[in-house]
């Protein structure tokens, strides 16, 4: 049955996001456990999940806090790790432009990898649907509650779960990111960008303060963008040469 009402779209968003809730759960659990084992205050950890609500950067932040990184560096790293949200927003903004500012501001807070993936997975890569925001809201509220819940469980159990880092729970985030990235690798420049960033992230992973992550991302973007421009120049030269031949 095709969903029609706001409520039906809300429920659909929730259901469609369900597998992503399952894969986010262990991630929230380790995040919570890591904060506990690094003696980060329970309120600080919970406040991050409630007010920042950005899994990947929270994870990076805990690692940085554990080695007493200056706050400014944690925030800059958070910013770069979160820059991808700009692209997600760019992909979805047409579909929300008719809504009130309050609605758009509310939806913006819940713009995560998972909700982006659910919305684009259901509505397509250039989504436009009059009830999209209800689906989106269902996805984001369920992700949000799920994330806070599992963070809380992780914090509470943190010290009772020895070596939780060695259980392999972080593979859940690996597989989620693989599911998001591979469909985006549509042409050679994107492959080059991804491969460059991957190699750099391993080569410079030992740099302090996650600077290797930043460097890897920027080199990947530079290589990808550069090769895209080169490919475009090449093809326009090709066309002009072709025209001369005619």
């Amino acid at each position: 049955m095709e969903p029609k009402t706001n409520g039906q779209f809300f429920i659909l968003g929730l259901r469609y996001t369900f597998p992503l809730l399952v894969s986010a759960a262990p991630f929230g659990l380790i995040f919570g456990a890591l904060t506990a084992s690094n003696d980060i205050h329970i309120y600080t950890a919970l406040a991050m999940s409630i007010f920042v609500y950005a899994g990947a950067s929270q994870f990076v932040a805990v690692g940085l806090m554990a080695i007493n990184t200056p706050i400014a560096i944690i925030c800059i790293t958070t910013f770069v790790v979160n820059l991808r949200h700009l692209l997600y927003a760019a992909a979805i903004k047409e579909a929300v432009s008719h809504l009130s500012l309050a609605w758009r501001s509310l939806l913006a807070f819940g713009l995560t990898d998972e909700t982006y993936a659910a919305v684009v997975g259901y509505f397509g890569s250039k989504p436009k649907h009059p009830k999209l925001h209800w689906f989106y809201l269902g996805s984001w509220l369920s992700m949000y509650i799920n994330w806070i819940f599992w963070t809380f469980i992780g914090i509470s159990l943190g010290k009772q779960l020895p070596n939780i880092e060695s259980w392999g729970l972080e593979f859940a985030i690996v597989v989620t990111f693989i599911g998001i990235v591979f469909p985006l690798l549509q042409s050679k420049p994107y492959w080059l960008a991804a491969i460059t960033a991957s190699v750099m992230s391993v080569l410079f992973g030992h740099w302090p303060y996650q600077l290797g992550l930043l460097f890897a991302s920027f080199s990947g973007i530079a290589v990808g963008y550069g090769s895209l421009i080169l490919a475009q120049k090449h093809s326009t030269q090709h066309i002009t040469q072709g025209e001369k031949d005619v």
Partner: protein
């Protein structure tokens, strides 16, 4: 105190990147080169986050078939590439990883 500062800083480093395009949805347009460069952000940031977990799960480079992270991630990547379905990728990827973890 410094924790409050950190949370506020992280909010300021997170919410604006999510909000700016929605907030100015009707009026804001970026130059072409910038939006093109942005399309490379997810394909670089996400691999830079997960590839180190896959190839060095315990801190040292581990590039052979005994590494369950590497094997499951490779299979998940093939599934993701072939079917372009994130839900399928997650379900199968996690199942493969769980089986390998139990066996190895």
């Amino acid at each position: 105190m410094s924790d409050i500062l950190l949370i506020v800083g992280m909010i300021l480093a997170t919410y604006p990147t999510r909000w700016v395009l929605f907030g100015f949805a009707q009026s804001l347009t970026f130059p072409k080169w910038f939006t093109t460069a942005l399309t490379f952000v997810p394909v670089t940031v996400l691999p830079a986050l997960f590839i180190p977990i896959v190839v060095q799960p315990h801190g040292n480079l581990w590039l052979n078939l005994n590494n369950p992270y590497l094997v499951s991630a490779t299979l998940a990547a093939i599934i993701a590439w072939k079917w372009r379905n994130i839900l399928l990728t997650i379900t199968l990827g996690l199942s493969i990883f769980a089986l390998l973890k139990l066996w190895l």
